[in-house]
């Protein structure tokens, strides 16, 4: 799962992989369209539905937060 997500993030911006901060949007590593793209790719790749209310910095702030969030959806 993590490998797939890393590939998706690399497509948008390679720097996201090494990013250690809490909010990659605020730190300009990704823009609002990038977030839409990631979500569309995640939904297709893992056959999940991400609720709009879950699109928060808590779930999408960095790669580890995304790993954790997707893991929680898959194991639900």
């Amino acid at each position: 799962m993590e490998e797939k997500i890393i590939k998706m993030l690399q497509e948008i911006n390679e720097d996201i992989i090494d990013y250690q901060g809490e909010n990659m949007l605020a730190d300009d590593l990704i823009d609002s369209f990038g977030i839409i793209q990631i979500i569309a790719n995640l939904e297709d790749a893992f056959d999940i539905e991400i609720d709009a209310a879950d699109v928060t910095t808590e779930n999408f702030g960095n790669k580890n937060k995304i790993f954790g969030f997707i893991k929680s959806l898959i194991t639900e």
Partner: protein
């Protein structure tokens, strides 16, 4: 360097507003103007306040229309207002104020598709080309002289958010190309010769009211869904589809995939009424996931 303006105000949200603000900030020192960012509609995950704090740009959050209008009317110094990703309609009193010049980014090739959700309408109307327009703001909606335009090709499977991203990128590139010139002198622009009966699209309008029918040509169903698809930005309510028994269900998601279920048939529904497959062409089918909210009309 000399400029005609003492003050520049950027109003808007999203990527367009952010990048335009960055460009205006880059020139601030050289031209010595005050820069203000006004956030009227706050997008999900907006970080504009943080950006302004970091870059020491004056930030104002004015979500109330009348308060925003009063704020603009109280500006008495030569001011350029740059509207990008902005849904506030400037009142005539602001537009006609002598010391204020307003430019706006519109997400279509004016005079075509003026008004709201132009990206959606360009896709729905099966346009092959759309683009970005920078124009002066006049009392009539999206009718002012055109400062610059850039075309964006609409490709086969493009969704609304993908076209929107490309148009936004084009708008940012265009803005960089004329901004310095605009700071120094008025750009005459090209007058729009729009038909007086031209259709202006409003925010409450949705193609086909957001409802497709299983009897529609498959490519039209697919195009309608793509034209309404802004990812998790709920620009429109979810699309619905009328099924062969006359009932209607909400579409949860959709995607185009190699033909697997519709090899010998135009469309097929799974036994649980959850998945609908519609043949799109010899090679592809449309896979639609339905919500469990089927109602008979």
């Amino acid at each position: 360097m000399n400029t005609r303006f003492n003050q520049i105000v950027v109003i808007g949200c999203g990527k367009a507003a952010k990048e335009i603000l960055n460009i205006a900030n880059d020139f601030k020192g050289k031209y010595n103007y005050e820069l203000i960012f006004i956030e009227h509609e706050i997008a999900a995950l907006s970080n504009m306040q943080n950006i302004c704090r970091t870059k020491e740009i004056q930030y104002e959050q004015l979500t109330d229309r009348s308060i925003l209008s009063q704020r603009l009317l109280a500006m008495h110094t030569p001011t350029l207002i740059i509207s990008a990703g902005n849904y506030y309609i400037f009142p005539k009193s602001v537009i006609e104020q002598q010391n204020i010049e307003i430019i706006n980014f519109h997400n279509a090739l004016l005079p075509k598709i003026p008004g709201r959700n132009a990206t959606t309408w360009a896709l729905y109307l099966n346009e092959k080309v759309s683009g970005a327009t920078w124009h002066y703001v006049v009392p009539n909606i999206d009718a002012g002289a055109i400062i610059a335009q850039k075309e964006v090709a609409i490709t086969e499977d493009m969704r609304a958010w993908e076209l929107s991203k490309k148009i936004t990128d084009a708008a940012i590139e265009l803005f960089s190309s004329f901004f310095m010139q605009l700071l120094q002198k008025h750009i005459t622009g090209t007058v729009q010769h729009a038909d007086k009966t031209r259709k202006i699209y409003y925010s409450h309008e949705i193609p086909e009211n957001g409802i497709c029918s299983i009897n529609m040509p498959p490519e039209n169903i697919y195009r309608l869904l793509r034209s309404m698809d802004y990812g998790k930005n709920n620009v429109f309510p979810p699309a619905r589809i009328i099924l062969s028994d006359g009932s209607a269900a909400t579409i949860k998601n959709y995607f185009k995939a190699p033909k697997e279920h519709c090899l010998d048939t135009r469309c097929i529904m799974d036994d649980n009424n959850q998945f609908l497959y519609i043949a799109l062409s010899d090679k592809y089918e449309l896979r639609i996931t339905l919500k469990n909210d089927k109602v008979h009309n």
